[in-house]
């Protein structure tokens, strides 16, 4: 009796332990949480930082979070549409970085600043 109870207790504790600990098998949900965290970090960066370069980098963070979601879903459903989309997003990120940095350099040449606060004119 005692041993059984102890066993039950043990089992409960293990499940509790598994819930909290590393031994829980990693599921899609885990990846989604990581992606969400990265996404929020990216959003904070975009909305609060003053340096344009860092804002652009935060956008890369956001895109990466999205990519991680896509690939996680791809594994969840067992097909490759998500991964293919991720490749497209990488292409998009490359284009965005090139154009964004191009704008940045053109802007820096004219106004000698890289602060978002000072980028407030449509025409200069």
């Amino acid at each position: 009796m005692l041993t059984r109870a102890a066993n039950d207790d043990d089992r409960r504790r293990t499940t509790e332990f598994e819930r909290l600990n590393f031994m829980v098998p990693i599921t899609t949900f885990h990846y989604l949480v990581v992606a969400a965290a990265l996404f929020v970090l990216g959003v904070i960066g975009v909305l609060t930082r003053r340096n344009v370069v860092i804002v652009l980098m935060s956008i890369e963070l956001i895109l990466n979070a999205v990519n991680l979601n896509l690939v996680a879903f791809s594994r969840m459903w067992g097909n490759l549409h998500g991964q293919t989309f991720a490749v497209f997003i990488v292409v998009d990120a490359a284009a965005e970085a090139a154009v964004g940095l191009g704008i940045l350099i053109a802007f820096f040449r004219n106004k000698e600043t890289i602060n978002v606060d000072e980028i407030d004119l449509l025409k200069w």
Partner: protein
């Protein structure tokens, strides 16, 4: 393709690597948005990108991981570092780091965070726990089939792929025109 459902057969190391990579990604992501010096931010971002590439590998997506390393870490980040060195960062490092509307921005981000949290807490059961072991050994070939088609037929994304190449071309032209002083 989606026959093997991965239940208890995952290697022991998997959770460890997951938490390691996820932790590295989030911590360095935090560094990206908090560092004063843009070069430090960029280096942290590289760590994030490589960690995410590792997560892709764990998700049986080696091709995406490879693309991530070669395009992001090897290409885009070099571009970033290049630009950071060209523009004068010493002044901006001494400057105020956050823009005028940062409280609003932070509030909006917090709102987004709470949205995510509530979605995850309430909708925990909506996300099925299943993970499918994709066929890793022919991942590239399968993505090729998606992009280019197979056995004479167009794949589902062939047209989109061509459009993407057009997008890149436009981006190249745009970047060149904007950065060149006179053409």
């Amino acid at each position: 393709m989606n026959s093997v459902v991965n239940t208890g057969a995952a290697p022991v190391a998997t959770p460890f690597f997951f938490y390691f990579l996820a932790g590295a990604a989030i911590v360095s992501g935090l560094l990206v948005i908090t560092r004063r010096n843009a070069v430090h931010s960029a280096l942290s971002l590289i760590v994030t990108l490589l960690s995410v590439a590792g997560l892709y590998l764990m998700l049986y997506a080696p091709f995406v991981a490879g693309v991530q390393i070669i395009v992001y870490a090897g290409g885009i980040m070099v571009l970033f570092l290049f630009v950071i060195m060209l523009v004068n960062i010493e002044r901006s490092a001494k400057d105020r780091q956050f823009n005028r509307i940062w409280p609003v921005g932070l509030a909006a981000a917090c709102a987004l965070l709470s949205l995510f949290v509530s979605a995850f807490v309430k909708g925990r059961n909506l996300f099925p726990d299943r993970l499918v072991a994709l066929q890793e050994s022919s991942n590239t070939q399968q993505i090729a089939a998606m992009l280019y088609g197979e056995a004479g037929r167009m794949g589902p994304y062939t047209f989109a792929f061509e459009i993407a190449s057009l997008l890149l071309l436009v981006a190249i032209l745009g970047a060149v025109i904007m950065t060149k002083k006179k053409i």
